[in-house]
């Protein structure tokens, strides 16, 4: 897709990959609405992207809150036009240090599913109907190798990402013929606060920079064809 002038909505936009994506999409000419819970962190991201000439709008909201669904979808469409690209990047690990399943509170699993699966479902439901009616649109689900591999202590998060990936497959089965595509993207291990929360002892030098990963994702989006699941770690750095 040509990102120039495209209306994009990015969740989890105040830090890490989300913040980097706001910059990268803005640089590629997209009109971006950046959603996050923290007003201060979000405003910092928006200010720096605008300083580089990007059109970016800040929207403070929690994708885990059902009441926020129409506020996010409606405000975004009002600010930048009907949404052509939705990046479902917001997610939560649940409590850290990550617990074994036998130590996981039922309520914590529910909360992780609410933010990582139900929230993205609600937001897509509010946005993808318009995409389908217009016959075009792209939704990106940011996932993790924890969706595929059974790592001890990654229970709630891994289950939520596995569910999110399957959600994307079913969305694709239902909407591909309407011109709406769903991409599941595993960004790989990045040097982010989420990674530090999950694995505080990791060697940061071995982790990818969110900005480089965001640039790869933008190049992936600019391609007309992409597999439904992509691991960005093995995606070439430049064309």
């Amino acid at each position: 897709m040509d990102l120039k002038g495209t209306s994009a909505l990015v969740t989890g936009a105040s830090r890490g990959l989300g913040a980097a994506l706001v910059h990268a999409l803005g640089k590629a000419g997209a009109r971006v609405v950046a959603v996050a819970r923290s007003r201060e962190a979000l405003q910092g991201v928006v200010a720096s992207a605008r300083a580089q000439g990007a059109e970016v709008h800040a929207l403070v909201a929690d994708v885990g809150d059902k009441q926020a669904t129409y506020a996010i979808a409606g405000s975004a469409a009002a600010l930048v036009g009907p949404v052509d690209l939705l990046v479902q990047n917001a997610s939560t690990l649940g409590p850290t240090p990550l617990p074994l399943l036998l130590d996981t509170e039922c309520e914590d699993l529910q909360k992780v599913l609410e933010v990582n699966v139900v929230g993205p479902f609600r937001l897509t439901k509010a946005v993808a109907g318009s995409m389908a009616a217009r016959g075009r649109g792209t939704v990106v689900h940011i996932t993790s190798d924890a969706a595929v591999n059974a790592y001890p202590t990654w229970g709630a998060y891994g289950v939520s990402k596995a569910a999110l990936e399957h959600l994307g497959r079913i969305w694709n089965a239902e909407l591909a013929e309407r011109g709406v595509r769903f991409l599941t993207v595993d960004p790989g291990e990045m040097d982010t606060r989420m990674h530090a929360d999950a694995m505080p002892d990791a060697d940061r030098a071995a982790l990818a920079r969110p900005g480089e990963v965001a640039a790869k994702l933008v190049r992936l989006l600019q391609q007309d064809q992409a597999p439904a699941r992509v691991e960005l770690a093995s995606f070439p750095v430049s064309p």
């Binding site: 909201a61 129409y70 409606g74 949404v83 109907g129 217009r134």
Partner: protein, 360 residues
């Protein structure tokens, strides 16, 4: 013309029903002078391959703002349109709430330019609105300007305002009760309700039948204010945008012998208003239309429409007269009354559509 009939109270659906596809659909053939009872789920059987269905993808914005004037009077402001650069036209209502029919609400205080209303004054972040203009003949009709908010004005609206309510519903409506399944930009202050029963399963059945789908955006205003001077002027000029893809889809339907079916009076107004502004030709782009269709107008783009049930006294009924004659529509109305059809935003539907001409 029987005046009595236009004042008959119609039965009303007081809440969204569970299965829109089971709702009633009265199919009216204006050429044959006939009508027939169906269900909404029968729509694919009533349309043909290469027909084109055009929907209004305007989302419904929260347009009911409750507040207090500087003098301390409780008021409700209903926006007539989505704000553009912080300004919008609006209608002022007095104390009380949606449970009272608009025509029985107490009159609001008379405001003058420069007066301010604090919206959601009980919340930590109220929003200040300033009266920018007062209509000289209809003093409840205002232009208002929103004070800058720390968030985009849109986010503030979703926080402090609610969907416009109807006195006949059984409980307060949330935004999800009034959104269509394909809503995009929040331009409508009341829902483009003709599209409410169009679930995606139905749109999929239409696609499998070979019926095309296209969108436009039309900022539907208030349907009723209870102020006779304002209501007589409704609908006021409204904003629309017709995408290039929709202009192409109309041309393709025409070329293939298909019919153009508008979903709701707002789609008729946008398509015909756009054509009227461009010498009879549908042109991609945005505009404002003040077109009012009636018995004397000849539609240039739209062949028929799928819409709600409209009473003979309503302005929507006047629009139907552009598609079918008065006697037929009144017979159909009497039939629907006798068959227990339901009216208003959550009510049943009708399809006014001539049969397809055989291609020679």
């Amino acid at each position: 013309m029987t005046v009595a009939q236009s004042t008959i109270e119609v039965p009303v659906a007081r809440w969204p029903r569970d299965n829109p596809l089971r709702e009633r659909l009265l199919a009216i053939d204006p050429r044959g002078g006939r009508f027939q009872d169906h269900r909404v789920g029968d729509l694919p059987k009533l349309l043909a391959p290469r027909d084109l269905v055009v929907v209004n993808d305007a989302a419904t914005l929260p347009a009911s703002l409750r507040g207090r004037t500087g003098a301390g009077d409780a008021v409700e402001l209903r926006l007539l349109e989505a704000p553009v650069e912080g300004s919008a036209r609006a209608v002022l209502f007095g104390a009380g709430d949606w449970r009272t029919p608009t025509e029985h609400r107490p009159a609001p205080p008379r405001l003058k330019v420069g007066d301010q209303i604090a919206i959601a004054p009980e919340t930590p972040d109220p929003v200040l609105v300033t009266v920018a203009a007062v209509d000289p003949e209809r003093p409840r009709l205002l232009a208002v300007r929103f004070a800058p908010t720390p968030e985009p004005l849109w986010a503030a609206l979703y926080r402090i305002a609610r969907a416009v309510q109807y006195s006949y519903v059984s409980a307060p409506l949330e935004l999800w009760h009034v959104q269509t399944a394909y809503a995009a930009r929040p331009w409508a202050v009341e829902p483009p309700s003709a599209g409410r029963p169009l679930r995606w399963s139905l749109l999929e059945s239409l696609r499998q039948k070979g019926v095309a789908l296209a969108t436009l955006t039309h900022g539907a205003g208030l349907s009723n204010t209870g102020d006779p001077a304002i209501d007589a002027a409704l609908p006021l000029p409204e904003r629309y945008e017709v995408p290039r893809a929709t202009v192409d889809a109309v041309a393709a339907a025409r070329a293939g012998g298909g019919r153009v079916i508008a979903v709701g009076t707002t789609v008729v107004r946008a398509l015909e208003g756009c054509a009227a502004d461009h010498g009879g030709e549908l042109v991609a782009g945005a505009g404002v239309t003040s077109l009012k269709l009636g018995p004397g107008t000849r539609p240039r783009v739209v062949d028929g429409l799928f819409t709600g049930m409209h009473e003979p006294a309503s302005s929507h009924f006047q629009l139907l007269l552009a598609f079918a004659d008065d006697a037929l529509l009144r017979r159909a109305h009497s039939h629907a009354l006798s068959q227990g059809y339901l009216w208003h935003e959550f009510g049943d539907s009708c399809l006014v559509l001539p049969p397809r001409l055989r291609v020679a």
